[in-house]
Symmetry: D2
């Protein structure tokens, strides 16, 4: 595998002080954007992948942006090859995309359900696999997977989203058990509630999660040494029932 | 939907005393075979669907057998249409198929992972949806989904299976919440251990689950009145760590 | 230990066909009364222990009744000695008592909290220990512990009840792991909802759990062979959020 | 309640810039000592309560130390009165003590089990209640409860410890739900593994949790704004099975 040789070379060339490369898949304005900004502020080189790249937001943190369709194996391989060529192998990879369909079970369209699972979970596998291939030669890395209430609760009229998010959680737990000994930290963040956004005008500042706070929670967990890793954290505002 | 009108007619024609029709998808010699035999002994008309139907086993319980590929939407619709035409709308439907791939994350083949999710979870959705469409006009029904250790634990080298089984569990929980008010009982059985089979010669009779015992556990749960439904039960021999 | 010798003698004298002795601690009109009636109908000799014995209810199922204060070590030893002397060593023991205090955390009275934990959980330990001492020489037995929503969810203004019920669940899980190899089946039943009773007049028959249904669920689980034991089941009416 | 008036006065006198008072109950050399040092480094005034105070360790972080028996209501009230008098009302309180007994269920001594529950869980309630009484007038606060593997898994020969730790977790969850709206953050840390200590000479640095890392994890979670609070985090080295 020539990529891995190159990866090792890059790791050596950059030296220990290089804060490295972070790839944010499903980059948007909320939690993922916050993670990207915070990693940029730490000096990491940032790659943003999303269906519709927003060059201005990338520019603000000196990031490169890539057009990307989640859930496609060839597109995933291509994305990692490009990021590696442009910035080097990522030691931090976040998978954020999801697709949901809200309807009573009998009204769900099979193709929509298939797509919800593919974008939400299968795409996470594809990205995680490419990430791990590059992290193993680096001697470790961090992988962040975005969960939701639906990761741990299958709600009415939400079967498609629950299937995707439960599956992503199964991936996260399997990766945590398999890869912690190899120095790769997988973290699944269950965001149990709605994330604040400019589009929302909540009645109370307590009602919606601050994306920066979720990012702080995730990065704090991912900063810990290997003897005290969590594979999952859960965050919620008090208005949520759990 | 003409099927539903017919279903209602069938329900009326058969009267309250008719024990009804059970469809076992992924019929094999273990847990599913045991459920089929026990339902046949209660007088239900049995339909067995599997990739390679075994006419002799079907004959032993006077069942009809159907060739069926799990995870295919058109095949699923066809199966239910045929069962309904031959026996009437099923009031008991079990989904048992699963596919697994065992390998380190980096060695998994994307197509195998996609297939594992499709057979294990997406096929369960397709079958459950066709089942619910027919159970709503009947005023209720029972849906049994087969879980495994991998439904609640993502193990190393088992990401693909965990994704499928976690997703199926998410489906089950969503269905339980959505459909219990409509009289449809969804039960997810976490079989935490290996099932005894003639092919296995265990060191101890304690080491493997007796398929008849799992079937008894599942049917006992599904026999309960609506005020005391479980959406999940877990069974294991003591040799399993949990 | 002379009790155990006697227990063994009793076991031999009664022969394999004897359905044995069941001790119901915290016997009342709901779930525990239902379990008692169903075990009596199977031919078991029934001992009912409660703070205020109700002779008429005991008579209806030919049971002996014992006055008993849950949570007291000496009283527990005495109860088992009396039951053993009167009926023989119990092979089925149920622990049902609980005490709760409902108040904001700051308003709870320490003695009430101590009592809630003692009656709900510590008393369960005392009874389970006496039970297991007698079941080991019998070669096995069944122990049923009554859980509630509070066993798995600590709710506001319910810290005392949550502490007791969480603790009882910890006992159940530890016993299940330790004693399943010795043939003792511990079952913890999470009753997630209100139990129907003559005193309640629910708006809907769906709103309250039928005590007979919970008893059926528990006994069905406890009737299974050892290779397919559950240590916990959960039952709820659909009106409950979970 | 004169304490609360005094508390309010103290809060006002100290001003917003005062980092406040932290009370560490069950102060020792491991996780709790690490939390104490890190809070001292932030400028907080530290009170250390333990059965056998170690003046040297207290001196190193300019802390006051208090002799204290966990699980005693009068002693708990006295401790808080003294801390309040000496330093002011604590806005950060940690409860760390636990007692365990390791034995087969039938060999457990009732008094030891009672004590395990009292020290591990009931003492946590007593401390939490005194803490909350003082935090409500302060407009908020942080409460840290130490969990273990036994908080979520009842293991063989460990019923007493499981009962205590499960109960403490029930308390934590109830407090989280009840008090998050009032600005009090309750965090339960499940430490799933053995903590490194000078007394231990582990075969691998991966085998034992670094107490500083657990403290970092806990403080990072407790530093988050209210819209993204966790009530529980779990940390473990990879050698632990989960």
């Amino acid at each position: 595998m020539p990529e891995q040789d190159e990866a090792e070379r890059n790791a050596v060339d950059r030296g220990a002080a290089d804060p490295g490369v972070a790839l944010i898949v499903g980059a948007g304005p909320g939690f993922s954007g916050s993670v990207a900004r915070k990693l940029a502020a730490r000096g990491m080189s940032i790659a943003l992948a999303s269906r519709k790249p927003k060059p201005q937001e990338a520019e603000a943190i000196a990031a490169r942006s890539y057009a990307f369709d989640a859930g496609d194996a060839a597109a995933t391989a291509r994305l990692f090859a490009e990021v590696e060529r442009d910035l080097g192998p990522p030691s931090f990879v976040m998978y954020n995309p999801s697709a949901r369909v809200r309807a009573p079970l009998v009204d769900l369209v099979a193709d929509d359900v298939e797509r919800a699972i593919r974008v939400t979970a299968f795409g996470g596998f594809l990205v995680a696999q490419e990430a791990v291939k590059r992290m193993l030669p680096l001697g470790g890395g961090r992988i962040l997977l975005t969960g939701a209430t639906a990761s741990v609760k299958g709600m009415p009229q939400s079967a498609a989203f629950a299937m995707g998010k439960f599956a992503l959680r199964g991936l996260a737990q399997s990766m945590a058990r398999e890869l912690q000994p190899q120095g790769i930290h997988t973290l699944h963040v269950v965001i149990d509630g709605a994330i604040a956004s400019p589009a929302r005008t909540p009645a109370s500042p307590d009602a919606h999660l601050d994306p920066d706070a979720i990012a702080d929670a995730a990065l704090a967990a991912l900063d810990l040494p290997r003897s005290a890793w969590s594979w999952e954290i859960e965050v919620r505002p008090w208005v949520e029932r759990f």
